[in-house]
Point group: C3
């Protein structure tokens, strides 16, 4: 593909030779002739001068760090949203492999299941009774889909995923390898002897359109009602979503986050890596939770919180600095004690003097 064609498809403004052939997207340091690179983090701007790429995707407003220098040593594609343009360039130049449509002769499909035309079902896939799989959906080898589950159109279910019975999955959903959807919630009633009675977990799980769920993540089903993940939400690897959790739209959960039972995350919440939320709490719209933090109570819209337990991020940062300065503070208190004792001693003399 020529650079001019790529610029047109990306809706970018081209500065430079549009006849160059481009074949892939590469990082600034790795790129060579024929590669398109990108700069979305100004932290790395100085590396651009040394790139061997044939073209670079930059923000529309980019200017050279030094007026005497050219903006880049190669052609430039100016993009209104350079990160999105990079994503589209990757999709155009190196589209992910997609298996051919059809059902593997090594798959086990219950006769009552309905597989739409154009779907692709890999080797050793096990599909249970009354399952429905939508058009153009790809189910990679070794996926298990339990009785009565529904998977929409244009989904990709990667290898080793387990989708238990009665799970509803919308359109354009991606589930990474070995994720589990619909495992039993962790619900037990304590008996008088200290042992625990399992509460049957027979609720359902609903995954709305455009959701992505990462490798090894688990979404539990509840005893009653449902666990729901809202449209456009993206979940990274090794994340725990407990029984009865309700996640809104366009939420981002980074790797190893854990959400306890019945908690609600409103639209646009972002939780950073290894953070967690206790059960039965509500995080308002667009709440941001810093890495490793523990949310223990309801949080209003638009708060940014951090810490264990989590509080306002600015307070947390200030406390964190002060904790490091505790040795100084203790020293200051000791000094005060000595000076005060000296004054008290002196004053005891003063008292007697008049």
């Amino acid at each position: 593909m020529t650079l001019a064609e790529l610029a047109t498809r990306l809706g970018c403004q081209l500065e430079g030779d549009g006849t160059i052939e481009v074949t892939r997207v590469a990082a600034v340091d790795d790129a060579g002739p024929g590669d398109v690179t990108f700069l979305t983090n100004t932290k790395y701007a100085s590396r651009l001068a040394g790139t061997r790429a044939s073209a670079v995707i930059l923000a529309a407003s980019s200017t050279a760090p030094d007026e005497s220098m050219p903006l880049a040593p190669c052609a430039v594609l100016r993009a209104r949203r350079p990160y999105a343009a990079m994503a589209e360039a990757v999709a155009i130049l190196t589209p992910p492999n997609r298996p051919a449509p059809g059902i593997s002769s090594l798959a086990s499909i219950d006769p009552s299941a309905e597989i739409a035309a154009g779907a692709s079902i890999g080797a050793f896939v096990a599909i249970g009774p009354r399952v429905r799989v939508g058009a153009r959906t790809v189910i990679h080898p070794h996926v298990v889909v339990g009785a009565g589950s529904v998977i929409g159109d244009d989904c990709t279910i990667h290898a080793q995923a387990s989708i238990r019975d009665g799970v509803l999955i919308g359109d354009h959903v991606t589930i990474q390898d070995a994720a589990v959807i619909g495992s039993d919630g962790f619900g037990f009633a304590e008996r008088e002897d200290g042992s625990h009675l399992k509460i049957p977990q027979v609720g359902r799980v609903v995954i709305e359109d455009d959701v992505e769920i990462g490798a090894q993540s688990a979404v539990d089903r509840p005893a009653v009602g449902e666990t729901r993940i809202g449209r456009g939400t993206k979940i990274d690897n090794l994340v725990q979503v407990a029984h009865g959790v309700k996640i809104g739209r366009n939420v981002l959960l980074a790797a190893q986050v854990g959400i306890s039972g019945s908690t609600v995350l409103d639209d646009g919440v972002v939780m950073a890596g290894q953070s967690g939320a206790a059960g039965h709490v509500r995080l308002g719209k667009r709440v941001r939770v810093s890495a490793k933090s523990a949310v223990t109570k309801d949080v209003d819209d638009d708060q940014h919180i951090a810490g264990i337990p989590a509080g306002d991020v600015r307070d947390w940062r200030e406390s964190t600095v002060l904790v490091r300065k505790l040795p100084e503070l203790r020293k200051a208190v000791s000094d005060l004690e000595q000076r005060l004792a000296a004054l008290e001693e002196k004053l005891s003399n003063v008292r007697g003097s008049p």
Copy 2:
């Protein structure tokens, strides 16, 4: 089923019309006609007035919040242990799906394995030499069971679980999807050049009766000896149990907990989400560990601990509050310094005056 029949089977005292047909258990807000709801958390008591359920399970001692009001707008089932009664009601009204007994023609069973009558073995299950599977045990599709492992009666092993060789599993054990039992412990001996020699992990894993292990959890085998999980212990998703760990009876481990090598958890220990324990420590009976905490040393029976490193939970709570007030404390010390300096200045005059 009529409400009267359900009341009898649950051992509950019925107040209201026993002839109503009931079909499922539902949450207070979701329930409609024909549903039984429940109230186990008094936090939600005010919602009961608005429920459309046909009946509600309540604690035996429940009274209306206001004497002029009825206890509930529907029939009432009074239970000595309402949470357990709810669990039983779910089990009675909506029992989980159970596949028919028999061995799938698509399973691979070594000729030397023994599968008891009434067991159910799903598609693509791979069972190795000398494995024994007990009566009425259900092994869902895609489970792998290694050479010489034994699985007891009435167990449920969900899809994609991997049970390595030489694992002993008791009766009434549930293993959720994609859990791994008997993976190699993380044991290496450092060589002089900084590289690491793998210590073969050839010990065994024992899972006693009535244990549940969550989705994506891993229980490692040790180099020598055994890793053991005691009767009635329940483990949530994404939990790490390292080599040589000994877990007692009726222990609860919430999601994403990690237990390092050779650590011992005595009966009744409860560890909340994302907490962890260092290696070679012992947690006494009924020790409770708060979420996100790190246990770094032995803990006596009945302690409740929190923090990193974990200490008494009351001390931790007090410290947490004081950390947040560090800006105030620093301000107080600054004020003292100024006042003291002023006094010192004044006293330097006083000294000279007589």
Copy 3:
């Protein structure tokens, strides 16, 4: 095998009866006649007197705690590196099971794949187009290997692992059960409406020689470039390695560690359980990170860090102690305030007196 033979193979100095038959390695407390035990942690030295083992592996320099006592109640194998000698003894006496070479008739192998002589491919393994599997490599049941991936010689890939397309794995690599190599990195570009555009993740993953990756761990592929794990690195269970991470040689990552995108870990880094590193940071050679810590910025070689955010471990320990003593410090400040107020009162009198 006789103890004399074992001593020769381990290169240990034997003290005692070399004609004893030995059959396995066992822990000090579990060992009986015919067992070889070991003592690598001096914390347990007192237990040695009570062992029933036939022989014990000890450090070359070991001496009896009390001169009147023998060093051990059994034969002694003196080793320069006792932990490594124990590892070798386990490997010699109880080698792990190894399936016979050959390809299961139940595996699905693409005709374009090349499986080297002596490799072992288990039941229900699915191997895609152009995959190459090296000599003597064992692929256990239910492993999936995607198009174009290469697995070297003498590797062991345990059950349920998913190796996506285009992954390069060196020689002598061990991958534990249900690990995922090459899942999509968590890369999205935010659109103006708050939704997220998936950036295709089409980079590759390279696993160098002698690496071990634990059960349920995930190694993501990047959008461009590669994710790389260096020679001799050992990764425990449930670890997240995000897109574009570069890990050097002989690194150790304990269970539940998380490494965010594009972060670099230089040779010899050790991260303890449940710790994490933010994206785009660099950890220098031999950096040690304590359990539960969060690395948020670049770290120089040979630092030992701890805390959230992580700083020097000694400072962290001091702060941790002082945080616990905050109630005392606050009390000291209150006392100072009272004493100072008393002095101020007294001085206000003094001032008027002359």
